[in-house]
């Protein structure tokens, strides 16, 4: 079979030549306009409800994302010796005309999320009330009981894919949000 294969070879060459057209032809760019990081959470809002039904909200936001202007936090003012119901909202306000609610999504993927708290000064950390489908804590709904008057800080951390079974679950997973508020209890 020195060269009876030339038909086969010719076929091969035609095939190759055709594949040139195919592979260079189908390679088109999808012209998406460039966007900022789409997973952006720009805003954390803490809603406090007092036993008498009075509500107040405080916001931590970084509208332009990482870099640029640093985040801005509103100072929280609370009354002493009061048990507040604390609800947390996450939003994407990067586009003022189209504010997106991220809280629903965190709720839908409750197993993969955990809201953790850290407090200093006169404040104790809130007690988590809600749970995910597995009965593990979630942290979007909590109760915060204030004691004596004074100054404090409250840090809210949203963890993604934490190991909720771990001894210190808040040290695991990826931090999506870490917002520190100044608190004045009076």
């Amino acid at each position: 079979m020195t060269f009876k294969n030339s038909k086969l070879m010719r076929f091969l060459f035609v095939f190759l030549a055709a594949s040139t057209l195919f592979w260079t032809g189908c390679q088109k760019d999808d012209d998406n306009p460039p966007t900022d990081e789409p997973e952006l959470i720009t805003t954390v809002i803490l809603h406090f409800t007092a036993p008498d039904g009075g509500t107040s909200s405080f916001k931590f936001s970084d509208i332009d994302g990482a870099g640029g202007n640093p985040p801005v936090a509103q100072d929280i003012t609370l009354s002493a010796n009061t048990a507040y119901q604390l609800n947390i909202d996450f939003q994407d306000e990067s586009n003022a005309n189209d504010v997106k609610d991220i809280t629903t999504e965190v709720k839908e993927e409750a197993e993969a999320h955990l809201v953790c708290f850290a407090a200093s000064g006169v404040l104790d950390i809130p007690v988590t009330l809600d749970t995910d489908a597995n009965g593990a804590p979630l942290g979007l709904e909590t109760e915060l009981t204030t004691g004596q008057a004074g100054n404090a800080t409250l840090t809210v951390v949203l963890k993604h894919e934490p190991d909720k079974g771990a001894a210190n679950a808040c040290n695991t997973g990826e931090t999506d949000v870490q917002a520190e508020f100044g608190v004045r209890v009076q």
Binding site: L8, L12, N32, P34, G67, T175
Partner: protein
């Protein structure tokens, strides 16, 4: 004209000497003619000598291999056909009438070599330090990655991001400071990032040459660290078909790999050659000695084809390659902010031990690279040869963070957070002139147009980049005079138009231009020693990421900011190499280098962290300093007794920031490899062999203080065992090779692995590789 004269002369001779025979024979005036061809290529053998033994009757074939002897009388003759480059052939013939007789000559060594040299335009040995690996030497490392395969060269180390991404580092420099040439075309992609591995199929590489230092005026000014030439197999010239199949299995990650190649060449007036090649790879989670690394699987699907046509005066080639990989990034490495990083380092091992799976989750990278090139070469006769090469490359990079973007399902279920697309067109024209006295050289021009579009993410901006470069290289050689001198000059101009970054318009135009040059000499002492010296100066314009980076690098928990006012780097590189070879027992190469780089661009930690809604990130800014890198590489082989070879090699480096008076960060620690190789037979390249290597990496004690999250890991020693054999199964030749990486399952971490904060390196990995070459023409050599 010459031929005719010759024949006439022969004819006269024949007449004169044949005269006595004339009277004795009954029938005279017969002719004998035919063609002389080469047994392998079937090509005509020009100017072969065809003679009748015992007489002086004969003829010399013309350039088409045709010979003609006339006026012979009938009788029995012994005809000898011979050629200086071939074994002669003897035929007995009984001549009764006009006869055709073709001769097939078996060409021997010298002739074959000549063909090779002519066909490949073998590059001259560089004056700077360089080393080459052939396909067989690339060996089992190809199953890991291209970077791992070439790490075995002295002076070459790798920069890893986890176990799945490996970038070659030459004498401490990498990324944009090292140029990759894929089949003669500058590889253009997003090679700037530490976690951006070369997008080239390791099985496409038949030969890899590493040129160290800033000596390469030919390939581009910006290669101040060196050049890696990756060459596929040359196209087949011998008519027929052939190919090979490579199958490899690796125990770690239960990785399977198949690579096939089919090649063919037509004979006749249009000797077209073609080659089709492809590789499929799949691997699952890798394992360290103590735990699995979650989400470290890999998938690769590559193919390439080439078509070529080679004529006497010109040749042309089309080449296409496509590379696609999906690879998992170790999930334990993806962290939110500095606190998460501190937690991860403190844990000392990943939170979850993981399990084996082929499933690829997030974080993930998907990388696509295609190259289409055309090359034409024309012999311009008296002047030399002219070469034109046009190429288009397209590179798409997608990075998927550990969780999908927030937003409405299912639109964004499979959406990356970062997506870049780079399209590059290059044109290169080179003219290689015929030797003028003792000077050989070439002059050429290189043009490039490149556009980057960022579809997602705002880490780097959209830009367009135009470059033009001109080079001129000459080499003086007066064989057998022992000195050889080479010099080259290059001028480059680069213009960059930077547009949108995220939602911001940058709208900046930048231009850079400068000269680079090299001068080198090779001096051969009789027989044993060769000395090579090279001095080169080169420059590199700051890359777009160094100018405009703006964002969080998730794997590293760092916020990186570019500086649009950066100046180009300028390198002055001197190297001195000694090649010793006693052609018997000892061969050794020692390379010393001293590399001064002004305006060396590096990431500098900033005093204030960047505050974001995700917490604090340490800030890094691109800065410039004067740097110095010096060191030495050696490679040594000693035949202690027949079959047993001792091998040793080392890569030593000292890198210093001259402005800050402190060591440069992320520089490879000193590394040694000592090996024992035993071959069970005479022929070292074919006999079965076993090789045991000890790889010894020292701790990097020269790192800048307090700029790293964790101190450099301690040094370690690991072992590698390799073995191979070639045999035949019936008529089918087979090659089997076995390799065990990290033989004793040692736990260790590498300073140049960005994931050293999170996990150990991979454990023992047993690789079995089977190579099956085949030919569809029975007479294969």
């Amino acid at each position: 004209m010459k031929k005719r004269l010759l024949l006439n002369w022969q004819w006269l001779l024949l007449f004169a000497l044949g005269a006595p025979a004339l009277t004795a024979q009954t029938r005279c005036g017969l002719t004998l003619q035919g063609k002389v061809v080469d047994a392998h290529s079937q090509e005509p053998v020009a100017f072969a000598n065809v003679a009748i033994q015992g007489s002086s009757i004969g003829a010399i074939a013309d350039e088409n291999g045709l010979y003609f002897i006339d006026n012979i009388c009938a009788g029995t003759y012994t005809i000898v056909c011979s050629h200086v480059n071939c074994d002669h052939v003897v035929h007995n013939i009984i001549l009764t009438e006009d006869t055709r007789k073709d001769f097939i000559l078996e060409s021997h060594g010298i002739f074959m070599e000549e063909i090779l040299v002519r066909g490949k335009a073998e590059p001259l040995k560089a004056a700077g330090a360089s080393s080459t690996l052939e396909a067989a030497q690339l060996g089992s490392g190809r199953g890991l990655s291209l970077g791992d395969a070439i790490e075995q060269l002295p002076g070459v180390t790798v920069l890893n991001t986890g176990a799945t991404i490996a970038k070659p580092v030459i004498q401490g420099l990498h990324s944009n400071r090292v140029l990759l040439l894929n089949n003669g075309v500058r590889q253009e992609g997003q090679q700037w990032g530490n976690e951006h591995a070369p997008a080239i199929d390791p099985f496409l590489a038949d030969r890899v040459t590493v040129i160290k230092g800033a000596g390469s005026v030919r390939y581009g000014a910006d290669a101040i660290g060196g050049v890696i030439l990756i060459e596929p197999r040359p196209l087949r010239e011998k008519p027929g078909m052939g190919g090979e199949i490579n199958l490899q299995g690796l125990s770690n990650g239960r990785t399977g790999l198949a690579s096939g190649m089919l090649e063919g060449a037509l004979k006749g007036k249009w000797p077209i050659s073609g080659r089709l090649q492809g590789t499929v790879k799949r691997g699952g989670n890798l394992r360290t000695p103590n735990y699995f690394l979650d989400n470290t699987g890999v998938e690769e699907l590559n193919f390439s084809w080439a078509l070529g046509l080679k004529k006497e005066r010109w040749n042309t080639e089309l080449f296409f390659s496509r590379f696609y990989t999906r690879l998992g990034i170790f999930s334990g490495s993806h962290i939110g902010n500095l606190t998460d990083l501190a937690n991860a380092i403190e844990r000392e091992r990943p939170l979850q031990d993981g399990a084996f799976t082929y499933e690829l989750g997030r974080p993930q990278q998907r990388i696509y690279h295609e190259l289409f090139k055309w090359k034409g070469e024309l012999e311009t006769g008296e002047l030399g040869s002219l070469q034109l090469q046009l190429a288009r490359q397209f590179n798409r990079r997608q990075e998927f963070d550990s969780h999908r973007p927030y937003g409405n399902l299912p639109d964004n279920f499979d959406e990356p957070q970062i997506e870049f697309e780079i399209t590059t067109h290059t044109a290169e024209l080179a003219w290689q002139h015929h030797p003028i006295h003792l000077l050989r050289g070439s002059i050429g021009a290189h043009f490039m147009q490149q556009a980057n579009t960022t579809d997602r993410g705002a880490l780097i901006p959209n830009y367009e980049n135009y470059t033009a470069g001109f080079f001129w290289i000459e080499r003086w050689k007066n064989f057998p005079f022992p000195l050889e001198v080479e010099g080259g000059l290059r001028y480059d101009y680069q213009w960059m138009d930077v547009g949108l970054q995220g939602r911001d318009t940058i709208n900046r135009q930048l231009a850079f231009r400068n000269l680079s040059g090299t001068i080198g000499a090779i001096y051969r002492f009789p027989k044993l020693l060769e000395l090579r010296f090279n001095f080169g100066t080169a420059w590199r314009a700051p890359n777009v990421n160094e100018l405009f980076s703006d964002g969080v690098h998730h794997g590293a928990a760092s916020f990186e900011t570019g500086d649009p006012d950066l100046q180009p780097e300028r390198a002055y590189n001197s190297s001195l190499s000694f090649d010793f070879d006693d052609k018997d027992k000892l061969s050794a190469t020692l390379s010393l280098f001293y590399n001064v780089i002004d305006n060396f661009i590096f990431l500098e930690p900033q005093a204030e962290p960047v505050l974001t809604i995700r917490g604090a990130f340490p800030a890094f800014g691109y800065a410039q300093s004067d740097a110095r890198l010096m060191g030495l590489d050696w490679q040594l082989a000693y035949e202690a007794m027949p079959g047993l070879r001792l091998e040793s090699q080392a890569s030593l480096l000292r890198a210093w920031n001259r402005s800050r008076e402190e060591p440069l960060s992320l520089m490879p620690p000193d590394q040694f490899e000592h090996a024992l190789r035993y071959s069970f037979g005479e022929d070292e390249n074919k006999a079965p062999y076993l090789r045991l290597a000890m790889i010894n990496v020292l701790e990097q004690t020269r790192a800048p203080a307090e700029t790293d999250y964790a101190p450099p890991p301690p040094g370690h020693t690991r072992f590698k065992l390799e073995g191979g054999a070639q045999f035949r199964l019936g008529k089918q030749p087979l090659e089997v090779s076995l390799a065990v990486f990290n033989l004793f399952n040692t736990s260790y971490r590498q300073y140049l692995n960005r994931f050293r904060y999170f996990a150990d390196e991979t454990g023992r990995n047993v690789s079995l590789h089977l190579r099956v070459p085949f030919g569809l023409v029975p007479r294969s050599s």
